[in-house]
Symmetry: C3
Subunit: 211 residues, 3 copies
């Protein structure tokens, strides 16, 4: 099935961009493979653990671990070339975002979850991998820093869910949701569209105000 | 039921204080909602995942996600006012601590867990949300920094468990446990009572001593 | 059984070295206990949550929590002495690595998982505790920084799995795998054998290249 092929390509692409992040932190080859695999598969894993949906995708299909590990190791060889293809990887990341979102919605819908959980499951699948990558790299998650990323995932999930609710054919709705999501994300990259930020400077910047 | 009402109010209060933490890090509006929701619901989620207690609270009652998200967004509008109400939010956080602890104990007791797991389940429910908030904010968890917080949760859980073991009526024990826990936490805030710290300075401060 | 005795000793040793890490960050006594317990039990917990293997080890045997907590508290008293025994603790950590790996493989094999998942389960059990410790301490995981650690876990798991596949007696295979794994890890410590690192310096060091 087409969705599955794109899903595997997106897994490899996510693993490769995460491997670059590992390289920027001088991680060893093992760390590169772990960071790539966690980033690529972490969203789906988090979704399945939260929904109690066992076995996890990569436990059922361990070959996916080989895909993400191979992609991460391959990155070590081709890092310099990837730099020139940066726009292509940003677009592949956008493809991953919408594909993972739709895969996540599918899992929740098959479990008969209500609309809010379907959308959240799609967003978790699309976005959490990058959050785990940033935690392992000891960064504040990029996801919260203004980029139009999670919002794209939410919109894709809404179109996909409500399109099917309105009786449209599932395949058509999937393609429409993916195209709109991908276009939105591409526009956000090109025109640097950002979410508004909440900038709060406490009057007293003391430690005790942390809680 | 009274406990449930207080539980929802505490969820909103935890989400609001976490939203302020997000604002101090200039997160975008989406990040504010995620940080608020993860902080408010993360303790119960961690408990349920560790105990294998599915479905999770917010998957069963997705409306709770709306409460935490709305509370976080509302914070953006009223941040300046909240600063003046800081003591009230500290007290609401104390209410949340004891209520979440008791809710967590209830879940473990209904599963027939032994005493140690009941107390740990209560503490996880009361305390882990703040740990997740600090990890996402890239801080060392405030929970480990000396405040009398987890200890209050442990004491509350012990009173609640052993009170019922001794045959006292559940409702009375719950109220007593909550009042004692809340009082302890308030005293700890007012008198800045702290846990002793373990200060260890290695003779050789080398990298290799990390492991 | 011998494996179980060594397992409990290793739990205590892992908890004690993590407690030292907590002391270097001036955590309070509660934080010391949590960091010790999470480091010692976190690998097995992560494995069980990912495999959907309930109840977790420490939920079934809450006494293990007492072991890790007592070991962590004990560390506060004997930190100065431990420094002189540093080599012993490094060796106990190596024992823990191979024992946890084999325990993890056993769990996955009893569930009938395929080879790749058995090896990954062993590695998760052996290595993830330290990653959780580093995340809670707000460090980039030491595991990814070049030490021959996860590789030792992988080799131990492979010997253990394939030895049994080849029809050798389980106990013999276990002892051989443990001895080889322990020897490899000790050699890596003594001769400072390291994994190669992936050092990637982006041509443009801008923020936008993060994704």
């Amino acid at each position: 099935m087409l969705l599955y092929t794109v899903f595997v390509i997106a897994l490899a692409a996510e693993s490769m961009t995460a491997a670059l992040a590992a390289g920027r932190r001088n991680m060893d080859w093992f760390g590169v493979c772990v960071l790539g695999s966690v980033t690529a598969l972490g969203g789906g894993t988090t979704r399945d653990v939260l929904l109690g949906h066992y076995p996890l995708v990569w436990v059922e299909q361990p070959a996916l671990l080989l895909v993400t590990t191979a992609a991460a190791l391959f990155t070590i060889a081709v890092a310099r070339v990837m730099e020139k293809l940066r726009m292509i990887f940003l677009l592949l990341d956008a493809v991953g975002l919408v594909v993972f979102t739709i895969v996540g919605c599918n899992v929740a819908m098959e479990m008969g979850q209500p609309v809010l959980i379907v959308i959240v499951a799609g967003m978790i699948t699309g976005c959490v991998g990058g959050v785990l990558r940033d935690i392992l790299c000891n960064d504040v998650p990029l996801l919260f820093s203004g980029e139009l990323y999670a919002t794209v995932s939410a919109i894709t999930a809404c179109i996909y869910f409500f399109g099917q609710q309105w009786g449209l054919p599932a395949e058509l709705v999937m393609i429409v949701a993916m195209v709109i999501g991908f276009t939105l994300r591409t526009l956000a990259i090109v025109f640097k569209i950002e979410m508004p930020r909440f900038v709060y400077v406490p009057v007293r910047g003391d430690q005790s105000s942390k809680r």
